[in-house]
Protein backbone atom coordinates (compact mmCIF):
# COMPACT_ATOMS: atom_id res chain seq x y z
CA UNK A 1 0.00 0.00 0.00
CA UNK A 2 1.49 3.34 -1.02
CA UNK A 3 1.76 6.30 1.31
CA UNK A 4 -1.01 8.19 -0.43
CA UNK A 5 -3.30 5.16 -0.07
CA UNK A 6 -2.54 5.03 3.63
CA UNK A 7 -3.13 8.76 4.04
CA UNK A 8 -6.38 8.47 2.13
CA UNK A 9 -7.51 5.68 4.44
CA UNK A 10 -6.55 7.53 7.59
CA UNK A 11 -7.69 11.03 6.69
CA UNK A 12 -10.36 10.94 3.99
CA UNK A 13 -12.14 7.59 3.62
CA UNK A 14 -15.64 7.56 5.08
CA UNK A 15 -15.29 11.16 6.25
CA UNK A 16 -12.73 10.34 8.92
CA UNK A 17 -11.34 13.90 8.75
CA UNK A 18 -14.63 15.06 10.25
CA UNK A 19 -14.15 12.64 13.13
CA UNK A 20 -10.59 13.88 13.66
CA UNK A 21 -11.79 17.51 13.62
CA UNK A 22 -14.52 16.54 16.09
CA UNK A 23 -11.88 15.13 18.43
CA UNK A 24 -9.75 18.24 17.99
CA UNK A 25 -12.75 20.39 18.89
CA UNK A 26 -13.26 18.43 22.13
CA UNK A 27 -9.57 18.94 22.99
CA UNK A 28 -9.85 22.67 22.31
CA UNK A 29 -13.07 22.98 24.34
CA UNK A 30 -11.65 21.22 27.39
CA UNK A 31 -8.37 23.16 27.19
CA UNK A 32 -10.02 26.54 26.73
CA UNK A 33 -12.62 26.13 29.47
CA UNK A 34 -10.07 24.69 31.90
CA UNK A 35 -7.70 27.54 31.11
CA UNK A 36 -10.25 30.28 31.80
CA UNK A 37 -11.52 28.62 34.97
CA UNK A 38 -8.01 27.67 36.11
CA UNK A 39 -6.63 31.16 35.57
CA UNK A 40 -9.37 32.78 37.65
CA UNK A 41 -9.00 30.13 40.35
CA UNK A 42 -5.19 30.46 40.19
CA UNK A 43 -5.40 34.22 40.75
CA UNK A 44 -7.56 33.62 43.82
CA UNK A 45 -5.14 31.00 45.17
CA UNK A 46 -2.23 33.36 44.52
CA UNK A 47 -4.08 36.04 46.47
CA UNK A 48 -4.43 33.62 49.42
CA UNK A 49 -0.84 32.47 49.05
CA UNK A 50 0.52 36.02 49.38
CA UNK A 51 -1.66 36.97 52.41
CA UNK A 52 -0.05 37.65 55.75
CA UNK A 53 -2.65 35.39 57.44
CA UNK A 54 -0.81 32.08 58.08
CA UNK A 55 -4.00 29.98 57.76
CA UNK A 56 -4.84 31.33 54.30
CA UNK A 57 -1.23 31.00 53.27
CA UNK A 58 -1.05 27.44 54.61
CA UNK A 59 -4.19 26.33 52.81
CA UNK A 60 -2.95 27.81 49.53
CA UNK A 61 0.48 26.19 49.94
CA UNK A 62 -1.00 22.75 50.57
CA UNK A 63 -3.39 23.16 47.65
CA UNK A 64 -0.55 24.09 45.32
CA UNK A 65 1.74 21.36 46.64
CA UNK A 66 -0.84 18.61 46.16
CA UNK A 67 -2.01 19.67 42.72
CA UNK A 68 1.43 20.40 41.34
CA UNK A 69 2.95 17.28 42.83
CA UNK A 70 0.49 14.72 41.54
CA UNK A 71 -0.17 13.49 37.99
CA UNK A 72 -3.27 15.06 36.55
CA UNK A 73 -4.39 11.67 35.21
CA UNK A 74 -4.61 10.32 38.78
CA UNK A 75 -6.70 13.32 39.77
CA UNK A 76 -8.92 12.82 36.76
CA UNK A 77 -9.46 9.12 37.53
CA UNK A 78 -10.07 9.90 41.20
CA UNK A 79 -12.65 12.57 40.42
CA UNK A 80 -14.44 10.75 37.61
CA UNK A 81 -14.46 7.18 38.89
CA UNK A 82 -14.39 8.08 42.59
CA UNK A 83 -15.67 11.41 43.85
CA UNK A 84 -18.21 12.14 41.12
CA UNK A 85 -18.93 8.52 40.17
CA UNK A 86 -22.53 8.61 41.36
CA UNK A 87 -23.12 12.28 40.54
CA UNK A 88 -24.02 11.51 36.94
CA UNK A 89 -21.92 14.39 35.69
CA UNK A 90 -20.96 14.79 32.07
CA UNK A 91 -17.36 13.48 31.74
CA UNK A 92 -16.34 16.64 29.91
CA UNK A 93 -17.46 18.70 32.92
CA UNK A 94 -15.35 16.54 35.23
CA UNK A 95 -12.38 16.84 32.87
CA UNK A 96 -12.69 20.63 32.66
CA UNK A 97 -12.89 20.80 36.45
CA UNK A 98 -9.86 18.53 36.88
CA UNK A 99 -7.68 20.42 34.46
CA UNK A 100 -8.85 23.76 35.88
CA UNK A 101 -7.71 22.60 39.34
CA UNK A 102 -4.37 21.50 37.99
CA UNK A 103 -3.81 24.65 35.96
CA UNK A 104 -4.87 26.87 38.86
CA UNK A 105 -1.98 25.55 40.98
CA UNK A 106 0.48 26.30 38.20
CA UNK A 107 -1.01 29.72 37.52
CA UNK A 108 -0.94 30.58 41.23
CA UNK A 109 2.75 29.76 41.41
CA UNK A 110 3.65 31.59 38.23
CA UNK A 111 1.73 34.69 39.36
CA UNK A 112 3.42 34.57 42.75
CA UNK A 113 6.89 34.36 41.26
CA UNK A 114 6.01 37.19 38.88
CA UNK A 115 4.77 39.28 41.81
CA UNK A 116 8.03 38.67 43.63
CA UNK A 117 10.04 39.57 40.56
CA UNK A 118 8.19 42.85 40.04
CA UNK A 119 10.03 45.96 41.22
CA UNK A 120 8.83 46.67 44.77
CA UNK A 121 10.60 50.03 44.88
CA UNK A 122 8.26 51.40 42.23
CA UNK A 123 5.19 50.31 44.15
CA UNK A 124 6.56 51.87 47.35
CA UNK A 125 7.33 55.09 45.52
CA UNK A 126 3.80 55.20 44.13
CA UNK A 127 2.34 54.71 47.59
CA UNK A 128 4.53 57.52 48.92
CA UNK A 129 3.26 59.74 46.13
CA UNK A 130 -0.28 59.16 47.35
CA UNK A 131 -1.57 56.45 44.98
CA UNK A 132 -4.14 54.19 46.63
CA UNK A 133 -3.22 50.53 47.16
CA UNK A 134 -5.53 49.47 44.33
CA UNK A 135 -4.24 52.12 41.92
CA UNK A 136 -0.67 51.13 42.74
CA UNK A 137 -1.46 47.52 41.95
CA UNK A 138 -3.41 48.36 38.80
CA UNK A 139 -1.04 50.91 37.31
CA UNK A 140 2.39 49.92 38.63
CA UNK A 141 2.50 46.25 39.69
CA UNK A 142 0.00 44.50 37.39
CA UNK A 143 1.58 45.53 34.06
CA UNK A 144 4.94 44.27 35.32
CA UNK A 145 3.46 41.01 36.59
CA UNK A 146 1.71 40.37 33.29
CA UNK A 147 4.87 41.04 31.33
CA UNK A 148 6.95 38.73 33.51
CA UNK A 149 4.31 35.97 33.67
CA UNK A 150 3.53 35.94 29.96
CA UNK A 151 6.18 33.53 28.64
CA UNK A 152 5.55 31.02 31.44
CA UNK A 153 1.80 31.34 31.03
CA UNK A 154 2.20 30.60 27.34
CA UNK A 155 3.97 27.32 28.04
CA UNK A 156 1.40 26.49 30.72
CA UNK A 157 -1.27 26.70 28.02
CA UNK A 158 0.68 24.48 25.66
CA UNK A 159 1.30 22.00 28.48
CA UNK A 160 -2.39 22.02 29.33
CA UNK A 161 -3.33 21.16 25.76
CA UNK A 162 -0.95 18.22 25.87
CA UNK A 163 -2.12 17.00 29.27
CA UNK A 164 -5.69 16.82 28.07
CA UNK A 165 -4.63 13.90 25.88
CA UNK A 166 -5.40 11.56 28.81
CA UNK A 167 -9.15 12.28 28.91
CA UNK A 168 -9.76 9.14 26.85
CA UNK A 169 -9.57 7.32 30.18
CA UNK A 170 -12.85 8.84 31.28
CA UNK A 171 -14.99 8.06 28.24
CA UNK A 172 -14.22 11.28 26.36
CA UNK A 173 -13.40 11.06 22.67
CA UNK A 174 -10.75 13.74 22.27
CA UNK A 175 -8.09 14.11 19.60
CA UNK A 176 -5.78 11.45 21.09
CA UNK A 177 -8.65 9.01 21.40
CA UNK A 178 -9.76 9.60 17.81
CA UNK A 179 -6.17 9.09 16.67
CA UNK A 180 -6.00 5.81 18.61
CA UNK A 181 -9.34 4.68 17.22
CA UNK A 182 -8.23 5.54 13.71
CA UNK A 183 -4.95 3.68 14.25
CA UNK A 184 -6.82 0.57 15.38
CA UNK A 185 -9.26 0.67 12.49
CA UNK A 186 -6.72 1.34 9.74
CA UNK A 187 -3.93 -0.72 11.37
CA UNK A 188 -1.52 2.11 10.57
CA UNK A 189 -0.51 3.26 14.04
CA UNK A 190 2.84 4.87 13.19
CA UNK A 191 1.52 7.11 10.45
CA UNK A 192 -1.67 7.94 12.36
CA UNK A 193 0.26 8.90 15.49
CA UNK A 194 2.56 11.12 13.42
CA UNK A 195 -0.51 12.89 12.03
CA UNK A 196 -1.87 13.31 15.56
CA UNK A 197 1.44 14.80 16.70
CA UNK A 198 1.41 17.24 13.80
CA UNK A 199 -2.08 18.40 14.80
CA UNK A 200 -0.99 18.96 18.42
CA UNK A 201 2.12 20.72 17.16
CA UNK A 202 0.01 23.00 14.99
CA UNK A 203 -2.26 23.75 17.95
CA UNK A 204 0.75 24.67 20.11
CA UNK A 205 2.13 26.92 17.40
CA UNK A 206 -1.21 28.67 17.07
CA UNK A 207 -0.97 29.49 20.79
CA UNK A 208 2.62 30.73 20.37
CA UNK A 209 1.50 32.70 17.32
CA UNK A 210 -1.35 34.36 19.21
CA UNK A 211 1.05 35.44 21.95
CA UNK A 212 3.55 36.75 19.39
CA UNK A 213 0.69 38.67 17.79
CA UNK A 214 -0.27 40.36 21.05
CA UNK A 215 3.39 41.31 21.54
CA UNK A 216 3.46 42.88 18.11
CA UNK A 217 0.20 44.73 18.65
CA UNK A 218 1.48 46.07 21.94
CA UNK A 219 4.69 47.28 20.33
CA UNK A 220 2.77 49.02 17.59
CA UNK A 221 0.41 50.52 20.16
CA UNK A 222 3.44 51.71 22.16
CA UNK A 223 4.96 53.42 19.13
CA UNK A 224 1.89 55.40 18.27
CA UNK A 225 1.18 56.37 21.85
Amino acid sequence: MSLSDKLYKILIQGGSWKTILGGLWVTIQISALALVLGTVLGAVICLLRTRKNPVARGIASVYIAILRGTPVLMLLLLLYYGVFARANLNPVTVAVFTFALNVSAHVAELLRSALEAADHGQAEAARTLGFSAWDTFRIITLPQVLRIAKPVYQSTIVNLIQWTSVVGYVTITDLTRVINNTASRTMQPLLTICIGMLIYLALSYIVFGLFALTDKMKKRGGETA
Binding site: S16, T19, L77, Y169, T171, T173, R177, V178, N181, M187
Partner: protein, 279 residues
Protein backbone atom coordinates in the same frame (compact mmCIF):
# COMPACT_ATOMS: atom_id res chain seq x y z
CA UNK B 1 26.16 23.15 9.48
CA UNK B 2 24.40 22.96 12.83
CA UNK B 3 21.07 23.14 11.10
CA UNK B 4 22.08 20.40 8.69
CA UNK B 5 22.89 18.06 11.56
CA UNK B 6 19.68 18.93 13.33
CA UNK B 7 17.65 18.05 10.25
CA UNK B 8 19.68 14.89 9.74
CA UNK B 9 19.05 13.79 13.33
CA UNK B 10 15.33 14.42 13.02
CA UNK B 11 15.19 12.44 9.78
CA UNK B 12 17.10 9.50 11.24
CA UNK B 13 14.96 9.50 14.36
CA UNK B 14 11.73 9.63 12.44
CA UNK B 15 12.66 7.06 9.84
CA UNK B 16 14.33 4.46 12.04
CA UNK B 17 11.17 3.00 13.60
CA UNK B 18 9.30 3.32 10.32
CA UNK B 19 11.26 0.84 8.27
CA UNK B 20 11.64 -1.65 11.06
CA UNK B 21 15.41 -1.89 10.88
CA UNK B 22 15.42 -2.26 14.66
CA UNK B 23 13.74 -5.58 14.16
CA UNK B 24 16.89 -7.60 13.74
CA UNK B 25 17.62 -9.74 16.75
CA UNK B 26 14.31 -8.88 18.39
CA UNK B 27 11.99 -11.81 18.43
CA UNK B 28 9.78 -11.24 21.44
CA UNK B 29 6.10 -12.03 21.50
CA UNK B 30 3.53 -9.36 22.26
CA UNK B 31 0.69 -10.17 24.63
CA UNK B 32 -2.14 -8.12 26.03
CA UNK B 33 -1.68 -7.52 29.75
CA UNK B 34 -3.88 -9.77 31.81
CA UNK B 35 -6.18 -7.31 33.54
CA UNK B 36 -6.92 -8.99 36.82
CA UNK B 37 -3.60 -10.63 37.65
CA UNK B 38 0.01 -9.59 37.90
CA UNK B 39 2.63 -11.02 35.60
CA UNK B 40 3.98 -13.23 38.39
CA UNK B 41 0.63 -14.84 38.88
CA UNK B 42 0.35 -15.93 35.27
CA UNK B 43 -0.24 -19.59 35.25
CA UNK B 44 2.69 -21.89 34.73
CA UNK B 45 0.98 -23.43 31.78
CA UNK B 46 1.22 -20.16 29.85
CA UNK B 47 4.83 -19.66 30.89
CA UNK B 48 5.65 -23.17 29.76
CA UNK B 49 4.09 -22.49 26.37
CA UNK B 50 5.91 -19.18 26.08
CA UNK B 51 9.34 -20.44 26.91
CA UNK B 52 9.35 -24.08 25.89
CA UNK B 53 6.94 -24.49 23.02
CA UNK B 54 7.02 -21.19 21.17
CA UNK B 55 10.21 -20.02 19.45
CA UNK B 56 9.98 -16.45 20.72
CA UNK B 57 12.90 -15.02 22.71
CA UNK B 58 10.65 -13.61 25.41
CA UNK B 59 7.45 -11.71 25.85
CA UNK B 60 6.25 -8.19 26.36
CA UNK B 61 2.96 -7.02 27.74
CA UNK B 62 0.91 -4.26 26.21
CA UNK B 63 -2.04 -2.42 27.72
CA UNK B 64 -3.83 -1.85 24.48
CA UNK B 65 -4.13 -3.75 21.26
CA UNK B 66 -3.22 -0.55 19.48
CA UNK B 67 0.16 -0.22 21.21
CA UNK B 68 0.84 -3.89 20.52
CA UNK B 69 0.17 -3.38 16.80
CA UNK B 70 2.44 -0.33 16.85
CA UNK B 71 5.25 -2.43 18.31
CA UNK B 72 4.60 -5.17 15.78
CA UNK B 73 4.59 -2.65 12.95
CA UNK B 74 7.86 -1.12 14.02
CA UNK B 75 9.50 -4.48 14.61
CA UNK B 76 9.95 -4.09 18.37
CA UNK B 77 8.29 -7.47 18.70
CA UNK B 78 8.28 -10.28 16.19
CA UNK B 79 4.77 -11.51 16.73
CA UNK B 80 1.60 -11.21 18.76
CA UNK B 81 -0.81 -13.58 20.36
CA UNK B 82 -4.40 -12.98 19.35
CA UNK B 83 -7.44 -14.79 18.03
CA UNK B 84 -8.43 -15.84 14.55
CA UNK B 85 -10.77 -12.87 13.96
CA UNK B 86 -8.28 -10.18 14.89
CA UNK B 87 -5.62 -12.06 12.94
CA UNK B 88 -7.95 -12.05 9.93
CA UNK B 89 -8.38 -8.30 10.25
CA UNK B 90 -4.61 -7.80 10.45
CA UNK B 91 -4.01 -9.94 7.35
CA UNK B 92 -6.64 -8.08 5.37
CA UNK B 93 -5.31 -4.65 6.35
CA UNK B 94 -1.55 -5.10 6.47
CA UNK B 95 1.06 -6.71 4.28
CA UNK B 96 4.11 -8.56 5.54
CA UNK B 97 2.55 -10.71 8.25
CA UNK B 98 2.06 -14.44 8.48
CA UNK B 99 0.39 -16.79 10.83
CA UNK B 100 2.58 -19.00 12.98
CA UNK B 101 1.53 -22.51 13.81
CA UNK B 102 3.17 -25.48 15.38
CA UNK B 103 1.88 -28.94 16.07
CA UNK B 104 3.47 -28.83 19.50
CA UNK B 105 0.94 -26.24 20.61
CA UNK B 106 -2.32 -27.29 22.21
CA UNK B 107 -5.31 -25.61 20.60
CA UNK B 108 -6.50 -22.82 22.82
CA UNK B 109 -9.72 -20.93 22.43
CA UNK B 110 -10.63 -17.35 23.14
CA UNK B 111 -14.14 -16.81 24.40
CA UNK B 112 -15.87 -13.48 23.99
CA UNK B 113 -18.14 -12.66 26.91
CA UNK B 114 -19.73 -9.73 28.61
CA UNK B 115 -18.57 -8.76 32.08
CA UNK B 116 -21.00 -7.34 34.64
CA UNK B 117 -20.97 -6.28 38.28
CA UNK B 118 -21.38 -9.12 40.76
CA UNK B 119 -24.77 -7.94 41.99
CA UNK B 120 -26.30 -7.82 38.51
CA UNK B 121 -26.90 -11.56 38.36
CA UNK B 122 -30.43 -11.08 37.10
CA UNK B 123 -29.28 -8.90 34.22
CA UNK B 124 -26.48 -11.39 33.50
CA UNK B 125 -28.97 -14.24 33.29
CA UNK B 126 -31.25 -12.25 31.01
CA UNK B 127 -28.32 -11.42 28.72
CA UNK B 128 -27.14 -15.03 28.74
CA UNK B 129 -30.70 -16.07 27.86
CA UNK B 130 -30.81 -13.61 24.96
CA UNK B 131 -27.44 -14.90 23.75
CA UNK B 132 -28.68 -18.50 23.90
CA UNK B 133 -31.77 -17.50 21.87
CA UNK B 134 -29.60 -15.71 19.34
CA UNK B 135 -27.40 -18.77 19.00
CA UNK B 136 -30.46 -20.96 18.48
CA UNK B 137 -32.23 -18.81 15.89
CA UNK B 138 -29.13 -18.08 13.81
CA UNK B 139 -28.88 -14.37 14.65
CA UNK B 140 -25.35 -14.79 15.98
CA UNK B 141 -24.24 -16.51 12.79
CA UNK B 142 -25.81 -13.72 10.72
CA UNK B 143 -24.04 -11.04 12.77
CA UNK B 144 -20.77 -12.94 12.58
CA UNK B 145 -21.03 -13.22 8.80
CA UNK B 146 -21.75 -9.51 8.51
CA UNK B 147 -19.40 -8.01 11.05
CA UNK B 148 -16.52 -10.47 11.08
CA UNK B 149 -16.37 -12.52 7.87
CA UNK B 150 -17.44 -9.73 5.50
CA UNK B 151 -15.35 -7.19 7.34
CA UNK B 152 -12.25 -9.37 7.01
CA UNK B 153 -13.10 -9.86 3.34
CA UNK B 154 -12.82 -6.11 2.90
CA UNK B 155 -16.45 -4.98 3.05
CA UNK B 156 -17.10 -2.12 5.45
CA UNK B 157 -20.24 -3.07 7.38
CA UNK B 158 -22.82 -0.49 8.41
CA UNK B 159 -23.11 0.21 12.13
CA UNK B 160 -26.32 -1.10 13.67
CA UNK B 161 -28.52 1.76 14.77
CA UNK B 162 -30.15 1.05 18.13
CA UNK B 163 -33.85 1.78 18.37
CA UNK B 164 -34.81 4.20 21.11
CA UNK B 165 -37.65 2.96 23.28
CA UNK B 166 -39.33 5.66 25.34
CA UNK B 167 -39.22 5.06 29.06
CA UNK B 168 -37.17 1.88 28.82
CA UNK B 169 -34.15 1.18 31.00
CA UNK B 170 -30.77 2.00 29.49
CA UNK B 171 -28.00 -0.53 29.19
CA UNK B 172 -24.70 1.35 29.25
CA UNK B 173 -22.13 -0.62 27.28
CA UNK B 174 -18.43 0.27 27.33
CA UNK B 175 -16.58 0.01 24.04
CA UNK B 176 -12.83 0.37 23.67
CA UNK B 177 -12.39 0.80 19.92
CA UNK B 178 -9.29 -1.26 20.43
CA UNK B 179 -10.05 -4.65 18.95
CA UNK B 180 -11.09 -4.73 15.32
CA UNK B 181 -13.19 -6.38 13.95
CA UNK B 182 -14.88 -7.04 17.31
CA UNK B 183 -14.87 -3.55 18.71
CA UNK B 184 -13.65 -0.48 16.80
CA UNK B 185 -14.81 2.90 15.58
CA UNK B 186 -15.92 3.52 12.03
CA UNK B 187 -14.47 6.42 10.06
CA UNK B 188 -17.37 8.65 11.07
CA UNK B 189 -16.70 7.95 14.74
CA UNK B 190 -19.53 5.51 15.59
CA UNK B 191 -18.79 2.37 17.56
CA UNK B 192 -18.92 -0.60 15.23
CA UNK B 193 -17.97 -4.26 15.13
CA UNK B 194 -19.34 -7.59 16.17
CA UNK B 195 -19.45 -6.72 19.87
CA UNK B 196 -21.42 -3.53 19.37
CA UNK B 197 -23.83 -5.20 16.96
CA UNK B 198 -24.35 -7.93 19.53
CA UNK B 199 -24.99 -5.39 22.29
CA UNK B 200 -27.58 -3.62 20.15
CA UNK B 201 -29.32 -6.92 19.42
CA UNK B 202 -29.24 -8.06 23.06
CA UNK B 203 -30.63 -4.74 24.30
CA UNK B 204 -33.36 -4.93 21.68
CA UNK B 205 -34.35 -8.41 22.86
CA UNK B 206 -34.39 -7.29 26.50
CA UNK B 207 -36.49 -4.25 25.64
CA UNK B 208 -33.75 -1.90 26.79
CA UNK B 209 -32.12 1.14 25.23
CA UNK B 210 -28.42 0.84 24.58
CA UNK B 211 -25.91 3.58 25.12
CA UNK B 212 -22.24 3.24 24.22
CA UNK B 213 -19.48 4.90 26.21
CA UNK B 214 -15.92 4.86 25.01
CA UNK B 215 -13.52 3.55 27.66
CA UNK B 216 -9.83 2.80 27.52
CA UNK B 217 -9.37 -0.97 27.53
CA UNK B 218 -7.28 -0.71 30.71
CA UNK B 219 -10.10 1.18 32.45
CA UNK B 220 -12.86 -1.34 31.73
CA UNK B 221 -12.96 -2.88 35.20
CA UNK B 222 -12.93 0.56 36.83
CA UNK B 223 -15.71 1.77 34.56
CA UNK B 224 -17.78 -1.22 35.61
CA UNK B 225 -17.08 -0.84 39.33
CA UNK B 226 -17.84 2.88 39.33
CA UNK B 227 -21.09 2.28 37.41
CA UNK B 228 -19.93 4.35 34.44
CA UNK B 229 -20.88 1.28 32.44
CA UNK B 230 -23.17 -1.70 33.11
CA UNK B 231 -21.51 -4.05 30.68
CA UNK B 232 -17.98 -4.33 29.30
CA UNK B 233 -16.65 -6.81 26.78
CA UNK B 234 -14.20 -9.34 28.13
CA UNK B 235 -12.38 -12.15 26.44
CA UNK B 236 -11.22 -15.20 28.28
CA UNK B 237 -8.76 -17.83 27.29
CA UNK B 238 -9.03 -21.48 28.07
CA UNK B 239 -10.98 -24.63 27.88
CA UNK B 240 -14.49 -23.82 26.79
CA UNK B 241 -15.95 -27.17 27.45
CA UNK B 242 -15.87 -25.83 30.96
CA UNK B 243 -16.05 -22.07 30.47
CA UNK B 244 -16.90 -21.08 34.03
CA UNK B 245 -13.63 -22.56 35.20
CA UNK B 246 -11.64 -21.18 32.30
CA UNK B 247 -12.64 -17.62 33.03
CA UNK B 248 -11.25 -17.47 36.54
CA UNK B 249 -7.75 -16.52 35.59
CA UNK B 250 -7.90 -12.86 34.70
CA UNK B 251 -11.39 -11.91 35.66
CA UNK B 252 -11.49 -8.82 37.91
CA UNK B 253 -12.90 -9.24 41.40
CA UNK B 254 -16.58 -8.67 42.08
CA UNK B 255 -17.57 -9.34 38.51
CA UNK B 256 -19.53 -12.01 36.69
CA UNK B 257 -19.34 -13.18 33.10
CA UNK B 258 -22.07 -14.10 30.65
CA UNK B 259 -21.79 -17.26 28.67
CA UNK B 260 -19.38 -16.64 25.73
CA UNK B 261 -21.30 -15.52 22.66
CA UNK B 262 -18.41 -16.38 20.40
CA UNK B 263 -15.27 -18.45 20.57
CA UNK B 264 -12.28 -18.34 18.31
CA UNK B 265 -9.04 -20.18 17.94
CA UNK B 266 -6.03 -18.60 19.61
CA UNK B 267 -3.30 -17.87 17.10
CA UNK B 268 -0.03 -16.09 16.50
CA UNK B 269 0.65 -13.39 13.93
CA UNK B 270 4.33 -12.89 13.12
CA UNK B 271 6.32 -10.53 10.94
CA UNK B 272 7.31 -12.19 7.69
CA UNK B 273 10.81 -10.71 7.97
CA UNK B 274 11.40 -12.13 11.45
CA UNK B 275 13.52 -15.16 12.27
CA UNK B 276 10.41 -16.92 13.58
CA UNK B 277 8.55 -16.75 10.27
CA UNK B 278 11.64 -18.06 8.50
CA UNK B 279 11.84 -21.22 10.62
Amino acid sequence: MKRFFAILTVLVLSLTPMNGCLAEGESALGLLSPQGVSEDELNDNLKDILFNVLPFSGYRFFDTFNSMITALNSGTIAGIETDEYVAGYIFSHLDGFASYTTDALPEYHVGYSMLLREEDTELRDRISGAIADMKADGTLDRLKALYIDDCIAGKEPEAMVPEQIDGAETLVVAVTGDRPPMDYFSADGTPIGFNTALAVEVADRLGMNVQFVSVDSGARAVALASESADVVFWSVLGDFNNWEKASEEDQPENTILTEPYLTGIECYVVREDSSIAAD
